[in-house]
């Protein structure tokens, strides 16, 4: 997952508006109880913005690591043994995949993987589908599934 323009807008909105709600009422002398209500809302919004920012940074670090595995990893194949989905994130299915990995040097292994995919990609995940994988040379459990 990656942050998009809407996400940047949401972080900016909740962060700035939250900070304004938390601070401005006190600066302009709004009565204490009302200012406290605004401040509570403001703090919650700032926390939401911070949470989104934290998630975005985490996804960014994950992407950087995946790029490293893609560039430095061993190329192999993953055969889809089973694919199912029981949840959605942002209208995208959270796919539970059971895969058979075949990687030179690591042999064959069966692994589980959960991936959030757009619907048009998820609908392609059928048993028997073979996808490329890149595996961290030092850790067979650390791999990038190319879908």
């Amino acid at each position: 997952m990656q942050l998009n323009k809407t996400g940047i807008g949401l972080i900016a909105f909740f962060g700035l508006a939250g900070a304004a709600f938390a601070v401005v009422p006190f600066l302009i002398g709004v009565p204490g109880e009302v200012a406290a209500i605004f401040a509570s809302v403001g703090v919650i919004w700032v926390i939401v913005a911070a949470g989104l920012y934290w998630y975005a940074r985490r996804q960014q670090r994950k992407a950087a690591h995946q790029d490293w595995v893609f560039q430095q990893g061993l190329r192999g194949t993953a055969t889809v043994l089973r694919a199912s989905s029981h949840a959605e994130v942002n209208e995208m299915p959270l796919m539970s995949l059971r895969l058979e990995l075949e990687v030179p040097g690591f042999g064959t292994s069966e692994v589980k993987r959960r991936e959030i995919m757009p619907v048009f990609a998820a609908s392609r995940m059928q048993p028997g589908l073979v996808l490329p994988v890149y595996v961290n040379p030092k850790d067979a459990d650390d791999f990038v599934l190319v879908w």
């Binding site: 998009n4 996400g7 998630y55 996804q59 942002n90 959030i116 048009f120 609908s123 879908w147």
Partner: protein
Amino acid sequence: MSAVDSAYAELAANRGLEQLPGFNPGQLTPLLVEAKGAGLQPALRGALGEGVDGVVGQLAYQRNKKFRFQAALTEVPAATAFAPRVFCIRRGRHTRDDEFYGFEARHSKLWTESTALNERYEVSTSPFQDPNWLRQLFSPSLVDWLGTKPPADFSFELAYGALLGSIESDDPDAVSLAALCDATAHVATRIREECEE
């Protein structure tokens, strides 16, 4: 008969295409996903261009407001092995009016030196693809063609071998539909050639 039906009937007559009662390809590409299963109606099947068979039709759906696209669908199965996803979308195109999600599936923006291409389209691909193959696909001749020849509102989506070309016209005439077919066939041929190389 509506103006859209007339345009499709004229296209069918001009190009010898078969009229279908409707056509639902499933959710093969992002635009077809946005349509939430709405099929192409009216729809014609046959040769979009030389050696390229497919279906052309109107895709209409509601996402807060009504969206109408004219779309041509064909297949280039060999492309899946090289680039599962390549989207070349006209800048500023809207395909829905009800999305407020801040995160989306990861993709890579394809950088090209062509100012004309970058100004007109946003090109993105799936991550972890061979950048050399993509650079070869977007050769100077294709980039030049994309910047000057297709209909002004043309976009295309290649997803797992399904290629969907589309224009945003609400009121198409047979000429603009023919241009859509030609543009989609041109892109399909170019992708096929690059796969064979």
